[in-house]
Amino acid sequence: MIGFENVRKEYPGGTLAVEDFSLEIASHEALVLVGTSGSGKTTLMRMINRMVDPTSGRVHIDGDDVASLDPVQLRRSVGYVMQASGLLPHRTVLDNIATVPVLRGTSKNEARRRAHELMETVGLDAALARRYPGQLSGGQQQRVGVARGLAADPNILLMDEPFGAVDPIVRRELQQELMHLQRDLKKTIVFVTHDIDEAFLVGDRVVLLKPGGVIAQIGTPQEILSDPADDFVASFVGADRGIRALHVERVDGRDVVVDADGRAAGVLESRAAAGRGPAGDGPTGESTRGGQPISDQPASDTPTGGQPRGATSP
């Protein structure tokens, strides 16, 4: 468990990045920090591995104040996927992935063997093992970054906009892979993004931040979508623009989900076709919001053409 207690961060020079932030993150939970640029997401995340020390307040991991832990040992035990991949340019892909295990004393051979496995896990062609980061595409670099974060099998994984630099298709692919991984690994993940769709896809819980690290709302994606705390949240999740207020229209005998502007968002499959629940006609004509039915249906039945919500299915 990770806890923030009345954390404040004022950078030298006077920027107040975080005013007063408190939060508890459960073990095995995927928590997403989402907010506009400069709202303090990276600052908060880097307090967990002591890359930033709070001006006041406490951060603890499993009851230990991180300020009492040796920063080097702490950083080796926490996986960190950085905003701009942060790979070492003079080391091969394989050695970049093996960095932390080697620092922790694993033999080079063993660490490289494991790095090879991780390349497969994150969907990297084995032929790239001997390349240098400068010889990779942005998406490949980010996969290497994810593999490096996982290499020492940390309980906590920090991911700072890990898929920021890739096109939407690759991004979707990486998100899916992360969710598959998380199903097996059950890490405690703290994930930063400013993409609300990604936040809802990845997060068991989502924290919406205003500038200064002020929590605008915290809850499951369903909770936030169905009941935005204020106009800021409503605008951030797009509820006010109608892109989350979906309804179903019948076109050529199929149920098409349409947003408030009349743009088709996807096709509604019957629950039977989705492999779940009794066969039915689907909630034809029934109003849904944000792709999340307001009714008590499981999230994975979400009838939009949007991303499946595998990670949060019960």
Partner: protein, 223 residues
């Protein structure tokens, strides 16, 4: 001795009697090289650790820059004479001067090498759990190696050109030909000595330039 002194200098260089014995060209070249290597090596022992420290921590940067600038401005012949008056004739006085002459380039090379590392890369290394020492030795130094070698290059070229002053206070080296020639108005010998110093300087410069290329880390070389 009334021909073209430059042609005579080449005749002097071609004379086989000048290529053997303790005052022959090979021996004098070796002495000259020895002074250079010794001076640069002693300077490196002081300047490299200091430069790496200054570059990594930023501590004492102002002082280092000022001191290096001042050292560069010192007249070497004056230093050699001054030290010789203090410690007497021998190798100590010129060696002290060479060390002082070599330090600024080495110091600047080492500190700029460390400073040139991309802050994001250093931050990433730290975030993965490298100690400050590991960041220095595994990230900053390998990435900055060409600049460190560049410092050696600058220092070496300066010392090799100045090492003839060793002969001024009674030592060997290629400076012997120059000061002997000067004393006896034997201009061909003086010119030959100068040519040899220049040639040695060029060879060393080229060798270090190649080393600089070779130390550019794989992965950062242009494709």
């Amino acid at each position: 001795m009334n021909g073209n002194p430059y042609l005579e200098a080449f005749a002097w260089l071609g004379d086989p009697t000048h290529w053997s014995g303790p005052s022959g060209i090979p021996m004098r070249t070796l002495e000259h090289l020895g002074y250079t290597v010794l001076g640069v090596a002693v300077a490196a022992l002081i300047a490299i650790p200091l430069g790496l420290f200054v570059g990594h921590t930023g501590i004492g940067k102002g002082i280092a820059v000022t001191a290096a600038g001042a050292a560069r401005a010192l007249p070497t012949l004056g230093l050699v004479t001054l030290f010789a008056l203090m410690v007497g004739i021998g190798l100590t006085a010129p060696m002290l001067a060479f060390v002082i002459l070599a330090i600024p380039s080495l110091l600047a090379g080492a500190s700029s090498a460390v400073e040139s590392a991309d802050p994001a890369t250093v931050d990433a290394a730290r975030a993965q759990g490298m100690t400050e020492w590991q960041i220095l030795t595994r990230v900053e130094v390998p990435l900055g190696m060409p600049l460190i070698v560049g410092g050696f290059r600058g220092a070496t070229v300066q010392v090799v050109a100045t090492a003839m002053l060793a002969a001024y206070v009674g030592n060997g080296g290629l400076g012997r030909y120059i000061f002997l020639g000067l004393g006896s108005q034997d201009y061909p010998q003086m010119i030959a000595g100068s040519v040899l110093v220049i040639a040695l300087a060029l060879v060393l410069d080229l060798a270090l330039l190649l080393t600089q290329r070779l130390t550019l880390p794989r992965g950062t070389r242009p494709a």
